[in-house]
Symmetry: C2
DNA sequence: TATTGTTATACTCTATAACTATA
DNA sequence: TATAGTTATAGAGTATAACAATA
């Protein structure tokens, strides 16, 4: 165990001063993120059900919104924008296709590529889903000022960059 | 589809003014949370490995830290503090016990209850794990001011409360 | 009957590796 | 050989429901 202690001090901690107590005593930040993220997904999913929007996986709804911003993307590009692996996207696209909101279309000039297209129904539903998500954000942001939210987004972006660096 | 539109307007949106464009055009907030949370877990897990800490599930490490704050909790109380279901806790406790960091002990006066106790090894390892998590937070917070972080925590707390209300 | 904890099961999100079909 | 997409598989995190033991 002494080795472990030594290892930790040598390789891990030497460059990091002790953080202020207030930041660490309670509530690891990751817990707050987990809780907020889970609550967000729960609310969005039940709001979609309440509004009669098609029952979609949370991930599929996200793909739908990406597609609404730009239609006809290839699957690889869609996966990149959703920040998930190609293989993770397949099931979500299947979900959208099953719900009749999008269709795959193979690219004739490069038959390896598949584009995803909104159907008419998809074009109708996407804005509704977007509004439901906005509504959940509205609920989340009750009694929080715009400035605080924008500031938080900036901080989140910094944290994201820091954690993904190297 | 008209029904859907009508339903949405009637039951879901009437109370919510349109949010400012900057909040919604890009990047749903949930994506940022997902990304930060995943990055946090990834970094913490690889930092634990680098430092020779026992290989624990992220969730088990969390239980360990709760237990360090108060030893000998019942499993139900631990689950409550970790904000997970009783049934979800079982595997995490198994994980800790397998690693030799904690042991279950049945309460003699109410034999339904099981308390979880840190072992000597658990008492040694817990502060190291805590420091690894702190280190990850330090990485996350590079070039972010204390004030911004504290402010973000407050906003997160409001959001959490708002989303879980009702 | 109610409570504590476990088991069985399932769902979501995600990834890696192996595969098919193109290029 | 390299790329686009799919399939098979697995692992982590979570929940619900049924259950056993105990109160």
């Amino acid at each position: 165990m002494d080795n472990l202690e030594h290892e930790l001090n040598t390789h891990c901690l030497s460059n990091w001063p002790a953080p202020p107590h207030s930041l660490i005593a309670t509530d690891p930040l990751y817990r707050q993120f987990r809780s907020v993220q889970a609550a967000f997904r729960r609310r969005a999913q039940s709001a979609m059900t309440d509004c009669g929007c098609p029952q979609l996986l949370h991930g599929s709804a996200n793909v739908l919104l990406q597609l609404e911003e730009q239609d006809r993307l290839t699957l690889t590009e869609l996966a990149r924008r959703c920040e998930i692996d190609n293989s993770s996207l397949t099931a979500l696209v299947d979900d959208l296709q099953r719900a009749g909101l999008a269709v795959r279309e193979r690219d004739p000039s490069d038959r390896r590529q598949v584009h995803l297209l909104l159907t008419d129904q998809g074009r109708t539903v996407a804005p509704l889903v977007r509004r439901v998500w906005q509504q959940v954000q509205q609920i989340a942001f009750q009694n929080v000022s715009i400035e605080d939210i924008e500031q938080m987004r900036l901080v989140l972006q910094s944290i994201e960059t820091n954690l993904n660096a190297r």
